[in-house]
Symmetry: C2
Subunit: 410 residues, 2 copies
């Protein structure tokens, strides 16, 4: 028996051997205890789902006279939904046509398709530092060399791209709005600069924009895609604006790459759930998002304010964090001598969870960062959880204080 098993394991392909389960999802398993105050999740608040509209849309979709919603359907996706998306992303200068739109099973699938189509082994994939773990995980199966581009409190430093031969890279991956994990929003001038570099060098930019709907001010900066549509693959999602369990996302793909992406999507799963696509279309067609998104923004802003004021109240000196303008995350810098993975062990013991920052670095990880989600915990519990976390950080700080300091204190 043992012999058979090890034979099976020996057959695992090279590309899959180093893959690990997402650190986040492993931690999430620990956080299912009901008394856990979890800042670890990357999931939107179920309180934000437009449940009545989703149920109504499901009923309409399934009770349509035709059996089509249960049949195989087009790989590219449901045509009316693709038309709706194309209209939503068209600008006067750059119309998006439905043929540019490919429906995916969440944005996660888009990472996989992009890896298949654009990433040769050992090719350079440029990423922010830190960057979204789920994208790293998915792209890593295509065995690129990740290259971290200089990133500051406002996101990727666009000028830094000039110095790393963008014309030789397979692609640049970034999240322009309320980045996971840092929460930063990329300023307009940097977007314009990246678009200009892409047009000039042929660099393909993957603009992953799952949090667009969660801008606290309701405002939208122009996408990089709108400034360089022939060079940008834009990834959109209904996971935050509507609900993630439907697994409906989309790619907007330059004409030259469309056919290839349809082919790999077909090979990956033929098409995304027909019913899910119909439910999304039935939900958005009548303009639900116009009323729902502002409500979402208020909800997440209030959650964020609860966390920021709890941090202000409880955190000791030497701890820093960003002030996000949208999204679901605060990125916290501990004093450099505290390892956030060690802190997590103690935090779980007092029923508080978060995600350590190290896995978000493509290489040379920093160990004193952590990601806090404010999406799903009540303001009261946020305060309680942050208070406990602050106490632990204090304890860790003291533990690392040199002995002579302790003696002086006495």
């Amino acid at each position: 028996m043992a012999n058979t098993l090890s034979r099976a394991e020996r057959r695992i392909a090279q590309r899959a051997r180093s893959l690990n389960s997402s650190a986040i999802r492993e931690i999430l398993k620990l956080t299912e205890r009901p008394d856990m105050i979890s800042f670890a999740g990357g999931v939107p608040s179920p309180a934000s789902f437009p449940l009545a509209a989703l149920r109504d849309a499901s009923a309409r979709a399934t009770h349509a006279s035709s059996a089509d919603i249960f049949q195989y359907s087009a790989t590219e996706g449901y045509a009316p939904l693709r038309e709706w998306i194309a209209r939503a992303h068209s600008t006067s200068q750059h119309p998006v046509t439905p043929s540019n739109v490919l429906i995916t099973s969440g944005s996660q699938q888009a990472f996989d398709l992009i890896g298949k189509v654009l990433v040769d082994p050992q090719s350079a994939v440029l990423v922010e530092r830190p960057t979204y773990l789920g994208a790293l995980q998915s792209l890593s199966l295509y065995e690129p060399e990740f290259v971290s581009v200089q990133t500051d409190d406002h996101g990727i430093v666009s000028k830094a791209l000039e110095y790393i031969e963008p014309e030789r890279a397979a692609l640049l991956y970034l999240q322009p709005n309320f980045q996971n994990p840092t929460g930063t929003r990329l300023p307009f001038q940097r977007r314009r600069k990246i678009a200009e570099i892409a047009r000039r060098t042929g660099l393909i930019v993957v603009e992953d924009d799952p949090y667009a709907a969660l801008a606290f001010d309701g405002g939208q900066l122009p996408s990089i895609h709108s400034m360089a549509p022939d060079n940008v693959i834009y990834l959109g999602s209904f996971s935050k604006a509507l609900a993630p369990g439907l697994r409906v996302g989309y790619m907007i793909v330059p004409g030259a790459l469309q056919q290839k992406f349809v082919q790999v999507k077909q090979a990956a799963d033929l098409h995304s759930s027909t019913l899910s696509q119909h439910i999304v279309y039935e939900t958005v067609r009548d303009g639900l998002l116009e009323s729902h998104v502002p409500r979402l923004a208020i909800f997440y802003r209030q959650q964020c304010e609860a966390m920021l004021s709890a941090l202000d109240r409880h955190m000791p000196e030497g701890v820093r964090w960003n002030v996000p303008e949208g999204g679901m995350f605060v990125w916290l810098a501990l004093p450099p001598d505290i390892d956030s993975a060690a802190l997590l062990e103690d935090a779980l013991a007092v029923n508080v969870a978060f995600v350590p920052g190290a896995p978000f670095f493509a290489r040379d990880p920093l160990h004193h960062f952590l990601r806090l989600s404010f999406a799903t915990v009540s303001p009261q519990q946020i305060d309680r959880g942050i208070e406990r976390l602050a106490a632990l950080i204090n304890a860790h700080s003291r533990a690392f204080t040199p002995v002579f300091d302790l003696e002086l204190d006495r």
Copy 2:
């Protein structure tokens, strides 16, 4: 503009360059004309969907008090559905546990996950001759060498496996029941032999079984999986027994490989549609399949009989076909001098469609075969379509008959 486009195309990765759209799906686009008699589809008949049960299940799933069905969920799949599948596949000798079961977005996704986990570039992937096109397409992205194993009217010749060093192959892929495209069912003794070879050599067998529910006699031969569970990855699907648009399939994976498959599934799309999984579970939990599958079998058997009797009535001498015991396909051998792709062009002109056989061969394709689906065309239209096809085959035969024969005929 043209310059930008060609730059984008130059960035397509090596593995994706040779990928083509499925010949079937390209033909299907041509067959959407309402007057087309299409034997080309690989889709089940929408008349066979248990629509009332599916609608009822959708209503129950979406009106449950909880928002869970719209939230992110476990990568492995919905636990009650996994338990149901494990029970359905357990035998007294070999219990299947829910941890062996991974829900996939249709069986098509399983091909992709298997390619990721088990196929290194240039490794040998053993396949039937001919074999299922969709699997070839998906696995080809992982750049294996396909090796066709000798196959006869009863499926793969198990003994032939002995001569091709199965211990060095990445895997053997086959469809044991009513194979696509040939319709053959693998006899019990061959299943046993393959299980024995797998146990002895460590060969991993991918047993793809989407048509299990479509046995005309309602009978089931034991799966290879049930005879060698540590060596077989079994692929099941609800696409034919229920409806394909939900995109719910599953893998039963040996313990040694489970964790790796969960990791690549997570990287591929996090999880399959939560709602679709709930709908499937709500549909099957009360035993719907026990009454539905026998009805399916009668429906497809009658469709098949209509096609077989039309073939008997109309086809000229020199044309041969199998008599399937289940599934959706008849595999037709033309006289060897007729190319089925050329025949298709003429057939489309008289509004009849089918799929030429060549793309189902992993290498060295034969060009005088074609696949006919009897799933979706009414018996009356089947007769009409086969009559037209027979007339064309007659015409092609005459065109290729040497001149002196024609003169003798006059």
